[in-house]
């Protein structure tokens, strides 16, 4: 199984959302990291046939994303999915199953199995409008799995889930990634860190880094520092470098930051994490975002 994305581009007026992105994905879990507006959702929407690329192609085992055979093996969870409020979870899943071309008897079995898997069995006959955010999200995950997809695209799947649900979901995704392509985007770096076999970092419409977690972290190896500094120096360092962690200590202010060279004479180098990498590449965009009302 192979998903080939070949030089796809999408432009909205003056902004290039996705810029000549090429990828080859095989079975496994892929995490897509990027700040808001990096082009993650546009890329995912094109992969699901919701948007037509301005140029380039997307094909799964040679089947173009415009064809119905492609949609037949696709599972998609949008960032913010709608639902008919008068539907119960059971009705919703049966409706989605009918659109996915699953026969009624098979749909009933699959629906019952998935409702149990996402822990909604007891509330299956309650209207979706009475569900909490996390319950709706779990229902969204269940509908994406109805047709046992070969390609599973999940846009911010853990949003709204409580920590216990997130752990359960991570395990479920890891299991699913064994024999299919799972692509998930999230702002929650730790989710990607735990679940994804491969990580792709997207910035301004292009993939700036891709690879296994360890490989990708090599790009900031030797650039993550920890130090305890006086308050005035802390403010100065905060202005200059992306700060990952900051806390008050007896001796001064503790800082963990990403920097090309030693930022302070007592600073010690430490092992880089994915969160460090994220902050290193997106610190400019995070600062811009914080400045906005």
């Amino acid at each position: 199984m192979e998903l080939v994305i070949d030089r796809i581009t999408k432009q909205f007026k003056n902004k290039i959302a996705v810029d000549h992105v090429s990828l080859k994905l095989k079975e496994g879990v892929y995490g897509l990291l990027g700040a808001n507006g990096a082009g993650k959702t546009t890329l995912m929407r094109m992969m699901c046939g919701l948007m037509v690329p301005d140029s380039g192609t997307i094909a799964l085992d040679g089947i173009s994303m415009e064809e119905e055979q492609y949609r037949d093996v696709l599972g998609y969870l949008p960032q913010d999915f709608g639902y008919y409020p008068d539907f119960t979870a059971l009705e919703f899943l049966m409706y989605m199953a009918s659109l996915k071309g699953i026969p009624k008897i098979r749909a009933k079995e699959k629906t019952a199995m998935l409702l149990e898997q996402v822990n909604l069995k007891d509330v299956a006959k309650k209207k979706i409008k009475t569900y909490s955010g996390g319950m709706k999200q779990r229902l969204g995950i269940a509908q994406a799995l109805l047709n046992n997809p070969n390609l599973l695209v999940l846009d911010e799947p853990t949003a709204g889930l409580d920590p216990k649900e997130r752990v359960k979901f991570r395990n479920m995704i890891s299991e699913l990634g064994k024999d299919r392509i799972v692509l998930l985007s999230t702002h929650i770096v730790s989710d990607v860190e735990y679940i994804a076999d491969y990580i792709m970092v997207m910035k301004k419409g292009t993939i700036i880094h891709k690879g296994a977690r360890e490989d990708i972290l090599k790009s900031i190896d030797g650039k993550v520092w920890e130090c305890v500094v006086p308050e005035k120096t802390a403010l100065d360092l905060e202005r200059k470098f992306p700060v990952i962690n900051i806390r008050n200590e007896k001796e001064g202010i503790f800082l963990r930051l990403v920097c090309e060279h030693m930022p302070y004479e007592t600073a010690s180098i430490c092992t880089a994490s994915l969160e460090d990498l994220y902050l290193y590449y997106f610190s400019d965009e995070i600062s811009e975002g914080e400045g906005q009302p």
């Binding site: 709608g82 639902y83 409706y95």
Partner: protein, 250 residues
């Protein structure tokens, strides 16, 4: 051996042997190939997903239309009966529009677009099902009018088809122009205008429901029908493309 003996044997076998507990059923189900829904099965299956509210509103409108026709013909006013029925027709369309615009209204379109049966196919199925319902209601009104007036059934049908097709066209134009979730309200406004216009048409053109204008009525039906077909094809193409192909109908 008769049927009763057969049942007894089955019962005895069931009692004598302990059935095996299925092993790895979920894994088996996951990997097992199964025949997909045919287009015919999908089409029939969608009937249950049309809201009960839509059926009830349509029936209520139909009954109200019959009541008004009856009331108009009681005073022996043929034209009034036709006008009253025509004024109701746009609202049959409105009930159907509210149903087809549901995906947009509740944000389900994104999910529906990624399924095996394309969004275009789903839209087409809904339009056909609701179109059949509307045509049944129109036929019912026409037959009822035939008994209440001395106008021939064919002419009644034409008189009612014009406001029906006009409303269908206008609402489809609105649906293609406006992407907002409030599209049903815009369509409601248009239906209201067509409905009120039906009440005053004969004031603008005297004897409009007489035989001398029948050519124009017929011509209007033809033109509106052509525009409608063209509009439907355009909407389906724009909403995810493929109608269906032979592999789906198999």
């Amino acid at each position: 051996m008769n049927l009763s003996d057969n049942r007894k044997i089955v019962k005895l076998v069931k009692e004598s042997y302990e059935p095996l507990v299925p092993k790895n059923k979920p894994d088996f189900l996951k990997k097992a190939e199964y025949p997909k829904l045919s287009f015919k099965e999908f089409f029939i299956g969608q009937i249950q997903y049309i809201r009960l509210r839509t059926w009830l509103v349509s029936i209520l409108l139909f009954v109200s239309a019959l009541f008004i026709i009856e009331l108009s013909s009681f005073y022996n006013m043929n034209v009034s009966a036709i006008k009253a029925a025509s004024a109701f027709v746009p609202f049959f369309v409105l009930a159907a529009v509210a149903e087809t615009a549901r995906s947009k209204q509740y944000g389900m379109k994104e999910l529906e677009m990624t399924c095996r049966f394309s969004f275009g196919t789903l839209l087409l199925v809904k339009m056909i099902l609701l179109g059949i319902l509307n045509l049944l209601l129109l036929s019912g009104c026409s037959i009822f009018l035939r008994f209440q007036t001395d106008i021939k059934l064919f002419r009644i049908g034409i008189y009612l088809l014009v406001p029906f097709l006009l409303t269908c066209n206008l609402t489809l134009i609105l649906a293609s122009l406006f992407k907002s979730r409030e599209i049903t309200y815009f369509c409601g406004f248009v239906c209201g205008i067509v409905s009120v216009s039906c009440l005053f048409t004969d004031a603008l053109v005297i004897d409009i429901y007489s035989a001398k204008y029948d050519v124009y009525w017929l011509l209007s039906v033809g033109v509106l029908m052509l525009v409608l077909v063209q509009k439907i094809v355009q909407i389906i193409k724009n909403s995810g493309g493929i109608l269906w192909n032979l592999s789906l109908t198999g």
